[in-house]
Symmetry: C2
Subunit: 353 residues, 2 copies
DNA sequence: GTGAAAGCGCTAACAT
DNA sequence: ATGTTAGCGCTTTCAC
């Protein structure tokens, strides 16, 4: 069915070696021969099989990408960055998603190994505890983590703890005192934990009381009534919510709106991720913004740097990209907040160090 | 570096044939031998290379996916559906994006062919005119188009013309008379054209004047001043905008908002795609909704049906999935619209036939 | 139950 | 300039 180099050789009346040369080193064959071979190639619609080539030890130029989901645009944005560089550099991408499930993470990575990818870009739930990453290290397989915030492995991320800290300090500077953190139910990720740590630190430093993150079901159409009650009633209801990601923030905003709660008048909201769609909201979502596309690109550069042996500096280390506070309009100042407070927050260092 | 079946054979003290059998037909080897071989496999972390296997004519279980971009969630949603079924059925996905560029489409498809994918799921700019699809037909390569609305090739889509027609009739039923259609600059796609056709038909049928689609730069931060003027000033300014996709609708909404134009009070907006994020907007975006995840799943089923020869009905034909009108809150009734008009629209057939 | 050997598509070293 | 051949990792007869 599919023609092989043999078919071309027979059709052209030369040996397979000549055909191979015509393809891979055209200048070494007689122009007349070359022309005939090329005609046969066209006539038969021949294209060299990567199998034979790879079998000979050539590179596969195949990179694996493992993401939790594409339903959250944060990963689609990263993938955009990766895909752009991959196309430009003639690599192919094999994509797998895991739904934040450790078993599926293992399975995805296993599959990619079996496919002999040259390296992988991974976003896993928990980078520090997942034994499969140790296996990769042990076996010398190249990978770069993306959005996993760990210094123990090659990774590209923002400083999640510091970013959350900066964001919550900003809320505090706007006069908020009762600030609650919300997280998704699948939030047992290293990122979510670090974001909570940053929240706690900012709160404690301001002498405020930090609470455990309140878990919200992402996919539910409505906020659960007890959750809604917790957010909206009582004298001690929070005046601001720090959501561990933008998608969650958007779901919560909708829930509050349906309960006739105005954002930001009745509740301020701060997200995390800096999704492009967040800026299209009304009001535009305030968010601790990660350079997602750039994180994807940086992960790519580190990985290919190691693959091709051309790494700028030490690409086996973790890289922290700067986050930014995207102001948006979902945060209101609380009466009594001093301007000094607002001024102070602007001087905060916003990048890891 | 990477162990081969030979290494395992040597380590276990058997021939490579026995190792192969231990892997592929365990019941045919002596349990003791089997055990030893398995120990060696574990000890060496051996995994059979797909190259050798495929070289022997086994299936690659590799499917190519070609999408315009991941920046538009509509394609990410489709990909979600595809990916789900692919994982479940043990297929691998190779992903390429094209940015709506015909050359990149050709290149992507070429690359996937060279990689010997068993089939591809494609979203191209124009399904009817792209010669590369004829090449696929000629060479017997399996593919299914996704979101390309054509009866000439295997495809899964909504009826874009009818969907647009339904949507615009709904606007008309709400009393709108001056309805403008907006499209992105990259909108020279078959879908965009069909949506415009549906718009024109609905307008003409109501005795209203249809206009050419107004092109909007998607990525611009602001609406271009002349565009904004066109939308917002003059006695003949439109009262409703039909946007050829949701992302565009969101960008336009932001532009209008910034110009102090309230949606839907000063302008009604109807999108197309039914993006999940649209429902999270305030007000929730009215949209002609395509079942994107399901379109991805259906495309997958058709493709694998053909690959595995188990097609339900004739999978080489195009499949039209039903669209729905998502009401949202970005559409206001215009004074003078009769209730009868609104009632009538609810009776519209909403699925293709 | 196990081994030897051929062959899948291709490249490269060697031979002509 | 072109042809011959070995061998990459694996499965699968065919012998033993």
């Amino acid at each position: 069915m599919i023609p092989t180099i043999k078919d071309v050789a027979a059709h052209a009346g030369f040996s397979i070696a000549t055909v191979s040369r015509a393809i891979n080193a055209p200048h070494t064959v007689n122009p007349v021969t070359l022309d005939k071979v090329r005609q046969s190639i066209d006539a038969l619609h021949f294209r060299p099989s990567p199998l034979g080539r790879q079998l000979r030890g050539e590179r596969s130029r195949l990179i694996g990408v493992v993401l939790p989901t594409l339903a959250n645009p944060v990963f689609a944005e990263c993938l955009q960055g990766i895909d752009e560089l991959a196309s430009a550099q003639g690599y192919r991408l094999m994509l797998m998603t895991t739904q934040y499930d450790a078993d599926r993470e293992r399975h995805a990575i296993d599959t990619l190994r079996t496919q002999r990818v040259e390296g992988m870009i991974l976003t896993v739930a928990d980078a520090d505890t997942h034994p499969i990453l140790d296996e990769l290290d042990r076996d010398g397989l190249l990978y770069v983590l993306m959005h996993n915030d760990t210094v123990r492995r090659p990774s590209v991320s923002v400083d999640n703890r510091l970013a959350a800290y900066d964001g919550v300090r900003m809320l505090i500077a706007h006069g908020h005192r009762r600030i609650l953190m919300l997280a998704g139910t699948l939030a047992a990720s290293d990122r979510a934990r670090l974001r909570h740590t940053g929240y706690v630190q900012a709160m404690q430093q301001a002498g405020l009381q930090a609470a455990p993150a309140l878990e919200i079901d992402f996919n539910a159409d409505e906020l659960a009534p007890p959750v809604l009650a917790h957010l909206t009633s009582g004298a001690t209801r929070p005046t601001a919510l720090f959501c561990s990601n933008d998608l969650l923030a958007m779901v919560v905003m909708r829930g509050l709106r349906r309960a006739q709660f105005d954002v930001p008048r009745d509740m301020s909201i701060l997200g995390f991720d800096g999704l492009a769609v967040g800026e299209l909201l009304s009001p535009p979502l305030a968010s601790i913004s990660a350079p997602n596309r750039e994180i994807g690109c940086a992960a790519w550069r580190r990985l290919t740097g190691r693959i091709e042996g051309t790494y700028e500096c030490d690409a086996s280390l973790s890289l922290t990209l700067p986050h930014t506070l995207r102001e948006g309009a979902t945060i209101a100042a609380i009466a009594g907040a001093s301007d000094g407070g607002v001024a102070r927050v602007r001087e905060l260092p916003q990048a890891g160090r």
